[in-house]
């Protein structure tokens, strides 16, 4: 079995379906056709560029170039986490909390997987590192964004509850404990659901790709499992880090609830 190469013509056919959908959206006045076409164009440009970049990168295996790409991926993911917050932290924290916790979890888990589990040499071989990192960033990004948003939203709405506990002598960590647990739980639910339904409802994207590329299905399944476990670990670690730093930042050195450190989008 070998890979069937896609011609530009094949892709144009698929793109035609998107055009058709856009026309339908215009006809039904759904008002999403513009955004849909822009998104489709963006993904085309971004993915073709990424393909070109990866081609160069795979040939060079230069650590500096790889680090640069990894950094770009991380900063975009950090920006994305910030953009999804309804109430953001003021100052560098708005960007920093998400980016730092993603750095800790995604980079940590990726390096761990490359050195201990997959065991490629050198460990930063881009064929493995970049896709792995991309999958991890993309998924932990979701979890962290949901968890942080839950934390700040509930703290904002629950000011009276939190302060009632502070007034009776509770510490900051105790006063926000319930909210913190709730936010973390919400952040973990997507990956838990994905693991539970994998293979029954959905055929995960990575496994699909490997099968299309000609891998034996069982090997593809094993890789998919590896990725899912890594994503679960990364989301958990990243969520814990983000919610911990975020909740600490909501209180000052005298353990006062400082909602003025958030601003409404």
């Amino acid at each position: 079995m070998s890979l069937v190469l896609l011609s530009p013509w094949d892709l144009s056919l698929a793109a035609g379906l998107v055009l058709l959908l856009a026309a339908l959206s215009w006809r039904l006045r759904l008002d999403v056709e513009r955004r849909m076409l822009i998104a489709a164009a963006r993904s085309t440009v971004q993915l073709v560029l990424l393909g070109l970049v990866l081609k160069v990168l795979f040939e060079a295996t230069h650590p500096l170039l790889i680090a640069l790409l990894a950094l770009v991926m991380l900063s975009v993911a950090g920006w994305e986490v910030m953009a999804r917050q309804r109430r953001r932290y003021r100052g560098v924290w708005g960007y920093g909390i998400g980016a730092l916790s993603m750095f800790l979890s995604s980079f940590g888990v990726t390096v761990l997987a490359l050195t201990l589990i997959i065991g490629v040499t050198p460990w930063y071989q881009p064929q493995y590192l970049i896709p792995l990192l991309g999958m991890l960033l993309g998924n932990t990004m979701n979890g962290i964004a949901i968890a942080l948003d839950g934390l700040t939203r509930q703290a904002w709405d629950g000011r009276v509850k939190i302060e009632a506990q502070l007034l009776l002598g509770a510490g900051w960590s105790e006063a926000i404990g319930d909210i913190r647990r709730e936010a973390l739980r919400a952040g973990l639910i997507p990956i838990v659901n994905a693991m539970a339904s994998a293979g029954l409802v959905s055929l995960p994207g990575m496994m699909t790709g490997q099968i299309l590329a000609g891998s034996p299905p069982l090997e593809a399944a094993k890789y998919q499992l590896l990725i899912m476990f890594l994503i679960a670990a990364g989301t958990g670690l990243g969520g814990v880090a983000a919610v911990w730093i975020g909740s600490r930042r909501l209180f000052d050195e005298r353990e006062r609830l400082r909602l003025d450190r958030l601003r409404v989008k």
């Binding site: 302060e163 009632a164 506990q165 007034l167 009776l168 002598g169 509770a170 006062r256």
Partner: protein, 216 residues
């Protein structure tokens, strides 16, 4: 007996025009505070409890607030906010677990003084009325054993019978523990009545500073 001394205290939130406040309350002393809404009465109480950023210093029996952990400070100066917060599902989630010995009777006594049976502890918070919440918040605060009382409209939503119960309980607590009481009240009758009964001072916030309240 615990004395509360406030020195140059000023809330530092959204440019409050309130001038720095100095006030001395000996153990058992009462100050009844009033003023137009927005004058900064609640902000002053929050600043004393160190719940908002603020400048100045507060002493409890000569011990400076800044030398104390904020958790300890807030437990000792009991602030009863105008709006009470409830974080658990049932009323009992908001009271300390029953202790052994004489303290075991503390919460039931507080509750019955305010007109509740002990079954109130099993009630759901969502089903409480505003007045019930206010009385239960007072019981919850006193069960915590504060050494001073900062009361923000402690009886505003109560009918006359319950207001009397709450006032009596607060006065009894003050007598037993020698706690100074700083009481924000919108009700002129209440201020006059309590000041006469206890020899307390009446203060009003006017022109961003504290002045003695004149009888109209």
């Amino acid at each position: 007996m615990t004395a509360l001394r406030i020195a140059g205290l000023r809330p530092l939130v959204h440019a409050t025009p309130l001038q720095p406040v100095d006030m001395d309350l000996d153990g058992g002393a009462i100050v009844l505070l009033s003023g137009p809404s927005g004058a900064g009465k609640s902000l002053l109480l929050r600043a004393i409890a160190d719940l908002d950023p603020n400048a100045g210093e507060v002493f409890l029996d000569g011990a400076a607030r800044s030398d104390m952990r904020p958790t300890e400070w807030r437990r000792r100066v009991g602030l009863l906010p105008a709006e009470s917060g409830w974080w658990g599902e049932r009323v009992s989630d908001h009271f300390p677990p029953p202790a052994g010995g004489a303290a075991e009777w503390l919460v039931p006594t507080l509750l019955s003084t305010l007109g509740f049976g002990t079954d109130v502890l099993d009630w759901e918070v969502l089903r409480l009325s505003t007045g019930e919440r206010q009385r239960l918040a007072l019981a919850r605060l006193l069960a915590n054993g504060p050494e001073a009382l900062l009361l923000d409209e402690a009886t505003a939503n109560l009918d006359p019978a319950n207001r009397e119960r709450a006032e009596a309980l607060i006065m009894e607590y003050r007598d037993q523990h020698g706690a100074p009481v700083l009481w924000v009240s919108h009700d002129p009758d209440q201020r006059a009545r309590l000041a006469t009964a206890t020899g307390g001072r009446r203060l009003v916030i006017a022109d961003h500073r504290l002045c003695p309240e004149d009888d109209a």
